[in-house]
Subunit: 241 residues, 2 copies
């Protein structure tokens, strides 16, 4: 089901670095602390796109590269995506006993580190505390985003929904160095966007087309470019309280 890689090739270093950057930002760690956490990563686990990350019960994974989504499938096959985990985020497959929580699914090939293993290999108690703080901060940030998502679904029009999601993703990918000139890879199909935004596939497409024809965004080959970020910002009603 998965393989653990031992050596650290170039891309692992790369992934670690970007993951450390997010950690530094969300958990408000200084660079040295983030470095210390990076060093705790022992072996890296790899999973193919489509992997269900449940059943891990308990131990969070530190996502080093790739995208994961949280979603729920309804009995009648409707599907709701709650949000996305990006490199540097902690993924907590919280399948709480018998409840109806959400599944975590890898949207791309992913690389991650098991936090429990990192805790075990951590020597100094500061490392433990640092890691725990990082996990807590990452989950708190995800929680915060869930409020935004509720507002998106409850109050925003289709274009506001789409634009605000794109802006959220840009803002999260930026510190990872994965955004160049408001352009970034977006490994999501229009159907997945629809399931995220509570719209039909077809309407997502139409909305996208409208944005494109207004010269606001460009979107092709799994890559988006925000052409008029200021205008988009304003469209998305990014209201502080």
């Amino acid at each position: 089901m998965w393989q653990a890689g031992e050596g650290r090739s170039g891309w692992v270093e790369e992934a670690l670095k970007s993951a450390g950057l997010v950690l530094a930002r969300t958990a408000k760690l200084d660079g040295a602390s983030a470095d210390r956490i990076e060093r705790l990563v022992g072996s890296v686990e790899h999973y193919p796109a489509g992997t269900f990350l449940n059943g891990f019960e308990g131990s969070p994974k530190w996502l080093l590269s790739g995208w994961v989504c949280e979603m729920r499938i309804l009995p009648d096959a409707r599907r709701q995506i709650f949000g996305f985990d990006l490199p540097g985020d902690m993924v907590l497959p919280q399948s709480r006993a018998g409840q109806r929580p959400c599944s975590h699914v890898a949207l791309t090939r992913i690389d991650c580190a098991d936090v429990e293993r990192m805790l075990r290999s951590a020597g100094a108690p500061e490392d433990h505390e640092l890691l725990n703080r990082a996990v807590a901060a990452s989950l708190a940030a995800a929680q915060e985003r869930r409020y935004d998502h509720i507002v998106r679904l409850g109050q925003y029009s289709s274009s506001e929904r789409l634009v605000s999601l794109l802006l959220e993703l840009r803002d999260r990918l930026e510190p990872l160095g994965m955004v160049a000139a408001d352009s970034f890879r977006l490994p999501l199909t229009q159907e997945q966007l629809a399931d995220t935004l509570g719209l039909s596939l077809i309407h997502v497409h139409r909305t996208l087309k409208a944005l494109r024809s207004q010269g606001l965004v460009e979107m092709r080959l799994g890559r988006v470019t925000l052409l008029k970020p200021a205008k988009l910002d304003q469209m998305a009603q990014r209201g502080l309280c």
Copy 2:
């Protein structure tokens, strides 16, 4: 701004008892543990309907009676209600520094106990642990409900939204002894329901009217009665994952 009552009149005992019941259920405490927490309640704070509960920063309140909602107001006056806190729930006014979180507002007159004060007056370390566990469990349950709410807003039709909300509230009020024969007080205006469900006031009214005309619910004078709970259950797609 608020008054602290000292003596425990009958209704305080009443409120304590129902709050203890919720605690026992959500935090999975046995009766004795819930009793111990009840005894920690020192003075009870009272706030009128409409009070904004922010600015309490940090210390949760244990809600003993009344309803509180979490909401966000957008710059253009749109409003989204994230959920409700009922007696027995912990209210955490998490106004995290400058972010755009949510405000907690009392929908009715409320009575609550300050958890920090309870911690201070707690003698035994078990009491501390018990209280912390209760707070964590209550917040976890609220979090769980937020997932449900995202599905409601993203996937459900207007009648599914309305019905699933009513069922959620019934299920939460039931252990408090506040539901008799699927009938309970609902201190919400149609406008507040609309802001919760991401619908317009008028459409909430229409949907309600339809449910009424089908003999599924009755709703007047701030009181709802679910006439055909089984049918409603089925309507609400209460799908386990």
